[in-house]
Every structure is written in structure tokens, then in C-alpha cells.
């Protein structure tokens, strides 16, 4: 009996240890992939003797980052600022419009085709118009970031609200709930996971929008830095800009994901334990 339970205990220990190892590996995996990618890159550039102005090796990029860290820093902060400003506006407008579209079939029918058409327009094409209206300055990147990240938020919030189960609506309506009650008590909380899923997309595309505008209307920011660098054939600096941009994108994504997990754990808990713990 004692021997049995000892054996069972050992087996349990072994299983727990295996699970811990797997979790550690999962946490380290992204870093290993990134390291491996840069390693391969370094190897290919050195082995085939690729010229620096075609494809700089990672160590050239690191050198460029160290050399130009001050302008890189300043321009990243400018871009970050425009991105977050546009993104904030997109959240505000997106949530309001999403609620309107999700809760009213009339608004949906009227606005959806317009929104689709609008979303199909490449935002690069809009930047020159923005320059005519606002001049070269801080506004074109902010507005481009807003325009590009607005759509996913609207669609997701609207979907969350529009897909409330009819039975649940019946329960509340039979109690004398007003349409506003249904949106506040059920629609909005239900839309939250959709909303946060869209934030993760929106925050990364907002970045893209801001940088596009900065490259078309070079005033400040990482987009302008890369334009200037490429016009001087300083390819390592261009890549340095790309690396910094990618890094900022990941950080913003992480922040969005962190907030998502803290606020809408109920959406993943219970269905997929791994999502909540292992993530």
C-alpha cells in the first residue's frame, strides 16, 4: 500500500516536472526563434559575402543602432506618440460606432457598405490629401493611424453586440428591460473579448499607418528617419529603423494582450486552460 502510493507520488512528480519543462520551453521559444533567425541571417550574409548596402548583417545593424541611438530614440518616441494618439481616437470612435452598428439594424444597413468601401481605400492614397488639408506636421500620421486602426475595432465591437443570443435578449425583454439595459448589461461585456482581440490588431496596424504617413510626408518620426537613411544609402540605419519598429510593435501588442487577459479571462478560462496559464 505504502509502496503503491510512493510510486503514484513519483509518477505524479514526474508528470509535474514534464509540464514545468514544457512551460519553460514555451516561454523561451519566441526568443530562441528570434535568436536563430538573426544567427541564420548573420551566417548567410557572411558566408555569401553579401554587400552591406544590399543586406546588412545583424552586427552592422547593431552598430548602426548604437551609433545613431539618439535620433533613433527621438524619432521612435515621435512615432509612438502619433501611433497612440491615432489609436486612442480609433478606440473612442470605433467603440461608439461599433455600438451603434451592433445594436441597430438600420444603422448597420446604412453604414456598413460605406465602411467597407472606405476600408478598401489604401491609406497611402489618403496621405497626400491629409497633407493638403493639414500641412506637413503631426496631424497626417495621427489621422492615418486613426483611419487604419478604426475599422477592425468597429467590426469587432459591432459583432460582439449583434451576436447576443436571442434567448438571452428574450429573457431581459420579458422583464421589461430597455434596449439600453440590454446593451449595457449584456452587449458590451460580451463584446469585450472581441474588442480586445481587435485592439491587438489595431495597435499594430496603427503603427503601420503612422509610419506610412511619416514616409510620405517626412516631418519627423521613424518613417522619416528611414526615408532619409535610404536616400543616403545608409542601409544599416534603414534596417535599424525596421528593427526598432518591430520591437515597438511587439511591446504594444504585449501590453494589449496583458490588458486583455486581466479583463476578459472569463472568455478563455474553462474552455482552454492553456491560454490562461501557459500563454
Amino acid at each position: 500500500m505504502a509502496e503503491m502510493s510512493a510510486r503514484a507520488l513519483a509518477r505524479f512528480e514526474a508528470m509535474a516536472a514534464a509540464a514545468r519543462r514544457r512551460r519553460r520551453l514555451e516561454a523561451a521559444l519566441p526568443w530562441l526563434v528570434i535568436l536563430g533567425m538573426f544567427g541564420l541571417w548573420e551566417f548567410v550574409v557572411v558566408a555569401f559575402g553579401i554587400a552591406e548596402f544590399v543586406l546588412p548583417a545583424p552586427h552592422d545593424i547593431v552598430r548602426a543602432i548604437i551609433k545613431w541611438w539618439q535620433p533613433l530614440m527621438q524619432d521612435s518616441l515621435t512615432t509612438l506618440y502619433s501611433t497612440l494618439a491615432g489609436f486612442g481616437l480609433a478606440i473612442l470612435g470605433g467603440v461608439l460606432l461599433g455600438i451603434a452598428i451592433g445594436s441597430s439594424a438600420m444603422v448597420y444597413k446604412g453604414l456598413y457598405p460605406v465602411l467597407i468601401a472606405f476600408n478598401s481605400i489604401p491609406k497611402v492614397a489618403v496621405v497626400p490629401i491629409l497633407i493638403i488639408w493639414f500641412g506637413i506636421g503631426i496631424w497626417p500620421p495621427i489621422i492615418t493611424a486613426f483611419l487604419i486602426s478604426f475599422f477592425p475595432i468597429v467590426v469587432n465591437v459591432a459583432t460582439g453586440i449583434a451576436t447576443v443570443e436571442p434567448e438571452l435578449k428574450d429573457v431581459l425583454r420579458a422583464l421589461g428591460a430597455r434596449p439600453r439595459d440590454i446593451i449595457v448589461k449584456v452587449g458590451l461585456p460580451r463584446a469585450m473579448p472581441f474588442f480586445f482581440a481587435s485592439l491587438k490588431i489595431a495597435v499594430t496596424v496603427a503603427f503601420v499607418g503612422a509610419i506610412i504617413a511619416e514616409s510620405v510626408a517626412p516631418n519627423a518620426g521613424i518613417g522619416r528617419l528611414m526615408m532619409v537613411a535610404s536616400s543616403r544609402f545608409d542601409v544599416p540605419l534603414v534596417f535599424a529603423g525596421l528593427v526598432v519598429t518591430g520591437f515597438m510593435g511587439i511591446v504594444l501588442y504585449w501590453i494589449a494582450e496583458f490588458i486583455e487577459r486581466r479583463t476578459t479571462g472569463w472568455a478563455t478560462r474553462g474552455q482552454n486552460q492553456n491560454l490562461a496559464t501557459g500563454g
Binding site: E167, D170, L172, R173, G176, A177, D181, K185, V186
Partner: protein, 266 residues
Amino acid sequence: MRPFVEIDRVAMRYGGVDGTLALQDCSLCVYEGEFVAVVGPSGCGKSTLMRLVSGLWPATEGNVIVDGREVAGPVNIVGMAFQSPTLLPWRRILENVMLPLEVTPQHRHRLRSERAAYEARARELLRLVGLEGFERKYPYQLSGGMQQRTSLCRALIHEPKLLMLDEPFSALDVFTREELWEVMQDLWLARKPTVILVTHDLREAVFLADRVLVMSARPGRIIAERRVDFPRPRTLETTYSPEFQQLAADLRRYIAAARTGEEVSL
């Protein structure tokens, strides 16, 4: 006893002139404090009937009178439960049960000042259905049967005069279902609301109801009714008695006939 729900030659057509005719010439009367079960072939308009009584949809023809007043919109004295528990996954069990108090016009203004009393009432209901100790759990932490019990509590928390149950037990296994019949009977005996229960399970209908109404195939109308006079509280033993079996068999014949459209003799 006074009539509480009166339906007089009601017709219901979905989606315009050429739409589906779900109910036609449907009349029934449910008395105050009575427990009525409605059975009938699938798609005959039972859920439609529930929507008309609770005022969620207007009838195409005819009158619906609830509690002495003609129904023109949501009647807001109703509690409802459906086949799926439809709980809110982001709310704890206690908060789910208390949801109706936040929206019904009679209670929403008093909720803040009398929160403690309302909460005690919710805990008492949860205790009655055997969910004591689960108040602070989330729905996903409960089994399907426990979620359905929660849904029943939510339907009862505002002490509705009328309870509408649309196949509330049909997604459960036989044992849980029979257990919940007894729970349902206790809940009803404690306060005697008027209940309309839609079900596919004839034993369930006979066990719970004072009267069983049988509907025809679509367009639905009431084609037969049987009184059930077994004394209360009924137990599962009751369901094995010959009289009980006979009654269930009779109802089964009515429904078989209704499906083929034959006339049934009472």
C-alpha cells in the same frame, strides 16, 4: 380561480403575408396559480406561443390577455427559462441570479438600498435548488445541470406571477432531469406562481402539471387537454403507477395523431 392567461383565437404568421403560419385559431386559458404543460409535435408553434404570452412578439390576429390586461408589449411580470441556461459567463452565479433585479422596473430602483435583502433571497433560492456554496463560482465551473438550476433561480428571483419554461430540462440527462422535476415542484409549491411549461417529455408533463394541453401540427392550436389529479407533492414513485403510465400513453396517442393530422376523440 380567475383566469390569468387567456388566449382567444390567436394566429401568428412570421415574415409578412407569405410567411410561415405558426399558430392559427389557438385558444387556451390558464388559471391563476395553475401549472400547465404544453406538448405537441416539433415545430408546431410552442415557442411562438410563449413569445406571444410574454409580449415579445405581437399576435397577427386575436387577443392575448395576461393578468386582466391585453398584451401590447413585454409584460414584465414574467420569468423565463429556456433549453440552454443562457447565463452570463462574466458574472458569478449569485450575480447571474440577481440580473433580473437590475432590469425590472419594479426592482431596479430599490436594488441599491435593499441589496442585502435581495441577496439573501438569491442565496435562499440557490439553497433550494441545491447550489449552496456555489454563489461565487463562474458558470463554466458548474455542470450543465447546475447551470440550468441557476437559470431557474434567475427566472424566479423577482417573484414573477407568471413563469414561462421552454423545454428547460430537455438538454439534461435523465437522472438530473428527474431530480430537477422535484426541485421545480418544490419551487412551485412554495409560492404557487402561474406556470406554462413547454416540453417534449410526456412523463415530465404529467409529473409536473395540473393540466396538459396538446397542440396540433403547424399551424398550431390546442386540440386536446387532460387534467392530472395526482396528489402533491408527487414523487418519482408516482410516475411508475399504472394511472400515470396510462395518462402518458393517452397523451402519446394524441400527439401521434396530431402529427398525422387525424382527428382525435377525447
